[in-house]
Chain length 331, copies 4
Amino acid sequence: MTLKFGLLGAGRIGKVHAGAVAASSGAKLVAVADALPDAAQAIARTSGAEVRSVEAIINASDIDAVLITTPTDMHADMIEQAARAGKAIFCEKPIDLSVERVRRCLDVVRAEKAPLMIGFNRRFDPNFRAARARIDAGAVGEVEMVSITSRDPGPPPVAYIARSGGLFRDMTIHDFDMAAFLLGEDPVAVFAAASNLVDPAIGAAGDVDSASLVLTTKSGKIAQISNSRRATYGYDQRIEVHGSKGMVSAENLRETTVEVANASGYLRDPLMNFFMTRYTQAYANEIAAFVEAVAAGRPMTPSGEDGFKALVMADAALKSLKEGRQVEIVY
Amino acid sequence: MTLKFGLLGAGRIGKVHAGAVAASSGAKLVAVADALPDAAQAIARTSGAEVRSVEAIINASDIDAVLITTPTDMHADMIEQAARAGKAIFCEKPIDLSVERVRRCLDVVRAEKAPLMIGFNRRFDPNFRAARARIDAGAVGEVEMVSITSRDPGPPPVAYIARSGGLFRDMTIHDFDMAAFLLGEDPVAVFAAASNLVDPAIGAAGDVDSASLVLTTKSGKIAQISNSRRATYGYDQRIEVHGSKGMVSAENLRETTVEVANASGYLRDPLMNFFMTRYTQAYANEIAAFVEAVAAGRPMTPSGEDGFKALVMADAALKSLKEGRQVEIVY
Amino acid sequence: MTLKFGLLGAGRIGKVHAGAVAASSGAKLVAVADALPDAAQAIARTSGAEVRSVEAIINASDIDAVLITTPTDMHADMIEQAARAGKAIFCEKPIDLSVERVRRCLDVVRAEKAPLMIGFNRRFDPNFRAARARIDAGAVGEVEMVSITSRDPGPPPVAYIARSGGLFRDMTIHDFDMAAFLLGEDPVAVFAAASNLVDPAIGAAGDVDSASLVLTTKSGKIAQISNSRRATYGYDQRIEVHGSKGMVSAENLRETTVEVANASGYLRDPLMNFFMTRYTQAYANEIAAFVEAVAAGRPMTPSGEDGFKALVMADAALKSLKEGRQVEIVY
Amino acid sequence: MTLKFGLLGAGRIGKVHAGAVAASSGAKLVAVADALPDAAQAIARTSGAEVRSVEAIINASDIDAVLITTPTDMHADMIEQAARAGKAIFCEKPIDLSVERVRRCLDVVRAEKAPLMIGFNRRFDPNFRAARARIDAGAVGEVEMVSITSRDPGPPPVAYIARSGGLFRDMTIHDFDMAAFLLGEDPVAVFAAASNLVDPAIGAAGDVDSASLVLTTKSGKIAQISNSRRATYGYDQRIEVHGSKGMVSAENLRETTVEVANASGYLRDPLMNFFMTRYTQAYANEIAAFVEAVAAGRPMTPSGEDGFKALVMADAALKSLKEGRQVEIVY
């Protein structure tokens, strides 16, 4: 059986998912829609899909599943329409920047019993996934503390900052989800310290670019997150999980294993510095997992609920930052 | 412009190259031939190519280039036929196990001015290629000494050993080519020490499975090669190049960057242990380089001559092993 | 010129400093005092020093400097007496568990113009010191974020916990000092999350054993600290400093560089797991720095003031933990 | 019981051993001799030993053991005299540059039943020793192949080259001993390739400075050695031992664990580049092992016989280089 996809949004990340569908043996891209006809055409040409309208795709009888990779403010509406049309749904994070909007959207999804996966791609990174598997196999005993380092190579354009929802909803949201994924227990309180150190324009836009956050769970587990919008040495993505019996970590990725040694020392490559390259395998694994879950009728992970929780954590972090105190997280 | 390929040989490595052609934007697989119809059909099905006979492919007017991935003893004949038919040729190593046969085959290739690339895939490994690029950029000064570690995860079936031409022509041949590639100068003498330590059946078949070789060039550069048919920790493929100003090295590859730490120590993954996985990117880069070279009308690297030289080194190494002395390499 | 030392306290750490004095070319141990005569005798025997009373040492005319390595509750009194007696003073951290007591003690030190160094040995670790030197040389640009990982191999006896002043005053105090050392700017606010995960007896004693702390400075720099009383893989002591131009890190130490590889993977040694072994070189460097500073009449670093500041941070952290909010640090 | 030492030769390495004796609890330096009175005085001053003549030391009744660290051409005579005087003897490598002279010297040692240890310090390096211990514990199964990388930071003065006995007797001799130590079986054949690439003056002095050697044992084990008189990145001292069940390796040492990361990459320290610093711990362990062996009346390792064997290998390697063939090693 082949799962037939419609792609809503033909931008950068849409192209990545179109490629993942093409590479997947159980999937096929049937149609693509975008406000910019050229973008849709470009994907149509290389994939053999047709260009259609969003409505046509959502209501098509020859399409089983939609990939939503449009701008964030269209996600929730599209999810609801697709759920009502009986489609399986893969939606990029975040579902929406408003917790209330997300709540209502998920009510529709639940009512329609629509399969919904949220694009927290990092859960599918082979390294982070292997770390989680080691934890599940008991390699570190009971999980106690998690440390997540997540630093972007460089800040996005300020225009993007303005509509991003801010550092916590845009960037840390991945780390909130990763924290929950690795802790194996939902955080119930958050503290956030943050500054504007990288680019004054980000501060002028009312956002921060450097942050340290601490999450705690009911049983006393602790996760710390270190964020920055700049890392001159590449895209810094590391985790450490400390448990009662040991530690498991996953390190960064480089283009090559080459090292040059001379009187100055031993020089390795900087890190991969583009998220699409760094997470190439994660994007492919993510779509494969979606296809498998639909085929098997299995619950989706990460679910709409996971997307909701990460957003709730982001909102609580923002409140913590404003109030200079630890804030309870109420899902 | 799209380069149209015919594939001769639908075995394991043929499938890899078919995949690389499919993934290449400037290339298309048109036809496939194999003595086993099922094997050819399998590739045809997934690639959209037709099944044809070898002769039909070599003489087809809708085919520009052939990929020769048949058993070794058919390589030289096919190269000659394809050269005479005006095709661009990619042939797996080795061209033949007989130096004389290779010499005659290359005479035909030269007479027909046929473009010919030999599948020394390791030159296209991103790590080894980057090491070579650093050398070319002057990072280590004048190259002086090269060290190649090349150890297979486990021995092949004894039946394979029998028709392989022996360790030096089958396995070390890659390292001979890599030594020349990294030295930037043809070796003129070789010494080989070797033993049968891994599997007595290999010894019974008249072959060795563990070897240390030393190559020297006219200007006094030295390369050492360490070979084994067994490495419990994975497929061990490393290089070091020492020059007047420093050293460049390329390390092994692992599936993940995960490390588990406890009272026993810090445990990383074993190495990737299958050559096709280890060299996935190299195989893709190799076909892309072939396509580009044909399109640009550029000379092929590694050339038929490179294939010839590696075989001459292998023969000299065998003579060295038998006679217990350093043997001159005459190309 | 040779600096003549009296040692007050012949316990474990006293022995380490006695050894450092013996190994220092410009220093000599003249006398040692301890409530347990056997302990004092043991050091006297191997060092050639005499056993004397505390008072005799502090008032001796043949002694230039005292090393205070007694239990914490005697530190402040001894510092004051030694200051009044005109001695140069090296005192183990902390000066006292009470900020008020420390304040009064330092008033005396200042009034007497006594040279006083506090034993924050980690500043003298070759790795952390080299990291600081790289920062000073501009290698990372302007410092922005610091990450300190500090995890003990195992919890101390509960009896020790009771009189230790708690995790923050006993263990994190080193990290508070290291944070200030690496930030190059005094923290002005702290947040602490902490749990009792390692040993229920520690919780029963009213203390925590696992903590994550965030410090911020006036200019917006951020430091995070990760603490645990247990690390099965050894004594985990790492730092990372992120700046506008790059990152500098210092890694853990192992007994050997040996690695064993087989089908299970690549296994390195666990970390050195005893603080005296891990910081052997730091202890030696520390005494050498003290001797040099006395000889040159240079100000001491880390100073009594540094000791005071670290304790103030610890108290603020404790308050933060109790109140669940970020607490201002007022020195 | 304290072992009383006389030191013959107060040069650079004599000073190191004097320090090791001073740091050893069961040993004491009583006297020192050197042709240069100032050198002897310098050691006497810091150690509390007396300056005496060589003859006086060898025949002293208050001295149990001699440390011979004079120039090589005096070693054999001194060993014989000390053996006849009933002393335990520690002698720096090599015993002599002439195999015949060594043979006669060891005849005397055997006749006198004198305890004799040869200063192959690398056997006492904590890393190499731990590697050997892992092998003994079965971590790699049956040893099959050994790889030794041994590259000096820079060439010695040409004046030294002239009297050194050449690369194989001066530098590779350590690696010959290490090969035997790691193989656990005496090599029976050697092949050497070598060039003059580093410094033309070395070639003018009739020596080589870059070499690759292959040793084989009767059971078919193979060791390869890579030597150079230059390594811009420090003193390169590594081993790998491959066995039927896995591999054990020991890596180089650095001054610090610091790494700086920026857009150029990740830069670690170059290697320790002075042999005395690199092997500080090995020198201390070596003297401690000598003291223990004398105290326990245990056979010495490495023995005079080990010193003899390494020299025989060096001579065979020289013959191999001249004749371009593998040469049998006859002890």
